[in-house]
Symmetry: C2
Subunit: 277 residues, 2 copies
């Protein structure tokens, strides 16, 4: 496994690779969710590149950039075990040199949900992902379904801008009580950790109602909200049932729908989703 | 010479090319300026692609999209003579399918000059050029120095977004009286055509003053303005002397400077520039 810290060194190394390249972009502090993507990339490509880059451009001014958890030496041990070919750990000043001023803006699908709660977030995501795509020139790139809107945004960017890269999504990996794995779960104290399963419980309730024939999105959302409201440490940011492609809010479910929510548990903001299809 | 009208067909054809690819993006109605770029591309690459696409996204609501001159059959004859390998003429609906919503925004260098006069213009330019770059994957792409700010914007996009494409600029080609070739010159009646050389005369005056040691940008611009004001059919849009990289307006010239101007001749808006270096 080669650890590479500069863009020209990575370009030079990858120029010697002849087979398909799989890219797993991450912000580090890796968990089983990331590792499941790495294993998919390893299976499907001759060469696997994992990037570790806490992208400042996707954090808002009042968000957790400075406290975002980092443990590169642990990350490298985990990736070594997975027999990753290249780990790319660029410096912020290499990705965004002084005077950097170009952005990729995906409109519409970024307006709601995370985009509404986190202005500028998806501009930062789309821009850094496009840069990584240009640097690595992967055949396939791997993202987690847990960040459902991010996946929609990246697929839209790739489609609209004619980027010939397969976007592969990996299923959300969960703890035994259903909590979706996230690097931000490390912010939770033990009481909050117990409460955090409320996101999964709310989604499960909605899914069961839907499986039993309830197609009225308003009723499903009411029920999700009441599950969350019974949890004293939880505060709802949003609860949504949207078209899974356009992310437009639905009143009635009559095609693939994305049930998603953002909930504050204490001071930690968590997100989760189910696809109803 | 192969004429290709769809993106998948072009991708398929180019996949069989093994040498370097040179791309000359145009909006058609070709003149010697375009052809000089085509000849550069032919000299420097094994395979030359010329695109003809009047990009609606770079025209403002009150601009000349509907009247923009077009003559594809003449363009094809000219390109045939130059022994171009591929001419790519996509439909608007292929480049911008329903629901298209992703943009490349180059900030700062787009704020002034053409960017200030034509809001959204460079967003449209950067987006279509990026799409063409992804579709064609050229090693080199060729643009005219006549659109000086466009060249700065595209170089900045390529730099900021890690696109590994050489941007090659071709010198402005001029009529015998100095008028820079432009497809929009076809809008001029014979009286306006005579008046149109005023852009070149103003730039020449500024260059001569600078060569004689005048470094005060204000004085150079005053002189350019007075040359133009003596021409009754001309109305100044802007006159600028700017840093040739940042496009920030200069008060004193102490490095490479871009002297540029936009002037209405009757109802036709023309631009031109000299680099002072």
């Amino acid at each position: 496994m080669k650890i590479i810290e500069t863009i020209p060194e990575l370009r030079q190394a990858l120029a010697k690779e002849s087979g398909n390249i799989g890219l797993v972009p991450t912000m580090g502090y890796l968990h089983e969710g990331h590792l499941s993507l790495v294993r998919m990339a390893r299976r499907e490509n001759e060469c696997t590149v994992v990037s570790i880059f806490v992208n400042p451009m996707q954090f808002g001014a009042n968000e957790d950039l400075s406290s975002y958890p980092r443990d590169t030496s642990r990350d490298l041990k985990l990736l070594e075990i997975e027999e990753v070919d290249y780990v790319f750990i660029p410096a912020v000043s290499d990705m965004y040199p002084t005077g950097f001023s170009t952005w990729v803006e995906v409109e519409r699908v970024t307006e709601r949900l995370e985009g509404a709660s986190r202005p500028g977030h998806f501009r930062g995501v789309a821009t850094v992902v496009q840069k990584l795509f240009h640097i690595v020139e992967p055949n396939r790139a791997y993202f987690g379904q847990k960040d459902a809107q991010q996946a929609v945004v990246i697929k839209k960017m790739v489609l609209d801008l004619n980027m010939y890269i397969d976007i592969v999504l990996g299923a959300t990996i969960r703890e035994s009580d259903g909590l979706a794995l996230s690097s931000r779960n490390s912010y939770l104290n033990s009481e909050e950790r117990k409460a955090a399963s409320v996101l999964y419980r709310a989604l499960t309730t909605a899914k069961q109602m839907w499986q039993q024939g309830e197609c009225d999105a308003g009723r499903l959302k009411d029920e999700m909200r009441s599950v969350i409201q019974r949890e004293p440490l939880a505060e709802i940011n949003y609860v949504s049932i949207a078209d899974s492609n356009t992310l437009e809010e639905l009143s009635k479910i009559d095609g693939p729908a994305l049930a998603s929510l953002a909930v504050n548990i204490g001071s930690t903001r968590l997100i989760d989703n189910f696809i109803l299809e």
